[in-house]
């Protein structure tokens, strides 16, 4: 038997249906590998091995009985711990939710279960999905499998490493400003942030509601297409999920797109971009040209305002979304909330309880963003900050609308640099924010963004190519990316973990 952990979901499905391998064997192999590597990588916050094996066995039994099976039958899937799983720990990487067990499943989880997927664990993340390195987890950082002294990116670092290190063939992350694409790039895998409204957010613990979106990680685009097909679609529990048909992403993946007009975003090649990354992206452009694409340079003139707009809109929404964590209905409550200063004496115990619980339950980055968002919405400042950011958001969206009049997809680097060292940027929030500089505008505009492997640095770190398409044009995005994937073998590189 070949090691199933060096495969992809699509291949594993084929092997299972031909009887080469059982679901139990697959799950067992991934679980064993996780057992071995998780202590080093710190991918999983919670695993229920027995439950996973039972799910796999049930799939085998049903297959043996000739029952019809779901599209992910027997495939292990790792889940970012931002998605609610009924009765199982869902911490969001926070001390605040250390003992929280949701009374319900997120819609994407229900869809995975209905597809007969095997949920192998909940993965580490930056606390409440705020961060770009997975160092903001209350449960310690996740490490990059290509170099364990480096960060894997974030906030979905755990789910990215789960796939990159083959602890699961596919996984789910969430992306508010690049939290799927950036770690995918830094870990050398494929990561897709779908269009806003493509995938239900019900059960996705909110960071910034108008930007958050759930999406897949995988080794190649076939698995991306497979997993997207399972999780996409209108959900009556999410008012912002859109009733647009879900195409057969996997079925059409290998058909080259009818039109291959590629735009290179001028503003993404300026100051701060690592030359090695620029070179890899320029090389990718040549690959497209060789494949017959029309390539032209396009401008997104308001790109430089993406960061400032994002760091107002996202914290503003986060300050409100996270106000529910106050030690009342769920989450951490401080044991000691007595007044420590004369000023605190004047604050009633109830409020002191809330303040102390939040002080203990949240880490510094979450506090910083709550503070920033509270400030941006507060009386006297809302117009200048929050409302101005919403208007700039419109300008950014208009930039994309204009660009897509002439091209089918936009390409550029996913990140300005490859994976940085653990601790390198933890004391400089602004520097950390800049690692999302190329990814946040797609969230502001609501369009889909995809990162695929497109090279390696000299020091052996992966580089990601970002592709963007108009809202709900995931099919075009995937088919266009597939042209590159077929012409190169970057996606088949695996880190040399023992």
């Amino acid at each position: 038997m070949i090691d199933p952990t060096r495969s992809t979901a699509v291949h594993l499905l084929a092997q299972m249906s031909s009887g080469e391998v059982s679901a139990e064997e697959i799950t067992r192999a991934y679980v064993d590998r996780a057992e071995r590597l998780n202590p080093t990588l710190n991918v999983f916050l919670h695993r229920d091995v027995q439950k996973a094996l039972d799910q796999a066995k049930a799939v085998d039994a049903r297959r043996a009985a000739g029952d019809s099976l779901g599209p992910l039958a027997g495939i292990p899937v790792a889940i970012k711990d931002v998605l609610c799983t009924l009765g199982e720990p869902t911490t969001c990487g926070s001390r605040m939710l250390k003992s929280f067990r949701p009374p319900y499943d997120a819609t994407v989880i229900s869809k995975l279960r209905a597809a007969d997927a095997v949920i192998v664990g909940k993965t580490n993340m930056d606390e409440f999905a705020m961060g770009s390195s997975t160092e903001n987890s209350a449960y310690g950082p996740t490490r990059n499998p290509w170099d364990t002294t480096r960060i894997p990116g974030g906030s979905s670092g755990g789910s990215a490493v789960a796939v990159a290190a083959d602890l699961a063939p596919i996984s789910l992350g969430s992306d508010t400003g690049g939290s799927i694409r950036q770690p995918a790039a830094l870990c050398g895998i494929v990561g897709l942030k779908p269009s806003y409204g493509r995938v239900s957010r019900y059960g996705l613990i909110a960071f910034a509601s108008s930007l958050d979106q759930v999406g897949p990680f995988s080794h190649d685009l076939a698995d991306t297409a497979l997993l997207l097909g399972v999780i996409a679609g209108r959900d009556p529990m999410d008012s912002t999920s859109v009733d647009t048909p879900v195409p057969d992403y996997l079925g059409t993946l290998d058909t080259p797109p009818p039109s291959l007009r590629v735009g290179i975003v001028r503003e993404y090649f300026g100051e701060g971009l690592d030359p090695e990354i620029e070179a890899a992206v320029r090389e990718a452009v040549r690959v497209y040209e060789a494949a017959g694409a029309t390539v032209r340079e396009v401008s997104l003139p308001h790109s430089k305002y993406g960061g400032p707009a994002y760091y107002l809109v996202a914290p503003a929404e986060c300050s409100s979304n996270l106000s529910r964590y106050d030690g009342t209905i769920f989450g951490h409550r401080a044991e000691d909330f007595s007044a420590r200063t004369p000023e605190e004496e004047s604050i009633p115990p109830l409020i002191r309880m809330m303040m102390a619980s939040r002080a203990e339950g949240f880490g510094p980055e979450v506090k910083r963003r709550i503070m920033l968002g509270t400030f941006a919405l507060s009386a006297g400042y809302a117009d200048q900050y929050y409302n101005q950011a919403l208007k700039v958001r419109r300008l950014i969206r208009n930039d994309f609308d204009n660009a897509f009049k002439d091209v089918d997809v936009l390409i550029g680097p996913t990140t300005p640099t490859a994976a940085f060292k653990l601790g390198e940027k933890t004391s400089d929030p602004l520097a950390m924010y800049l690692s999302d500089i190329y990814t946040i505008t797609t969230n502001l505009a609501g369009i889909p963004g995809l990162s695929i492997p497109c090279g390696m640095t000299k020091s052996g770190l992966p580089i990601g190519l970002q592709l963007m398409a108009p809202a709900f044009a995931e099919e075009t995005l995937l088919r266009t990316a597939r042209v590159f994937e077929k012409a190169t073998d970057w996606h088949s590189r695996r880190p040399g973990l023992s």
Binding site: S99, F100, R101, P103, Y196, G197, S210, L211, P236, S239, T240, V242, Y305, P308, A309, Y311, L312, S319, T328, I329, F330, G331, H332, R333, P348, P349, L350, I351, R352, M353, M354, M355, R358, A359, F362, P364, K367, R368, I370, M371, L372, T374, F375, Q384, Y385, N387, Q388, A389, L390, K391, V392, R393, R394, L395, R397, P429, L430, Y433, N443, G446
Partner: protein, 95 residues
């Protein structure tokens, strides 16, 4: 603009965050840095621009008025940090 420590203290109270003195110090510096960064937006003339507050601009999404089951009380209270047999408990709220 620049946020004073007193203003940051006020924001922390509004956000229900108890800050340690050293946190207050750090946050005041960092927030000022970030506020300076986001203040770049003031450069843009946006007076004719319609704000974009949503991820997708759809309208009129409703559910029908159909009653579903309630959670069993135990499930509703299961995550409560403090509770009795029927309610969530919080430090007394005095009117």
């Amino acid at each position: 603009m620049s946020l004073s420590r007193d203003e940051v203290t006020q924001v922390a109270l509004l956000a229900r965050l108890r800050l340690e003195p050293e946190e207050l110090e750090t946050f005041t510096g960092q927030l000022n840095q970030i506020v300076e960064f986001v203040a770049q937006l003031q450069e843009l003339d946006t007076h004719d621009i319609v704000p974009l507050a949503h991820g997708v601009e759809v309208r009129n999404v409703f559910r029908e008025d159909l009653r579903g089951p309630s959670l069993p009380r135990e499930a509703a209270l299961a995550n409560a940090p403090k509770r009795n047999s029927e309610s969530f408990l919080v430090p007394a709220v005095l009117e």
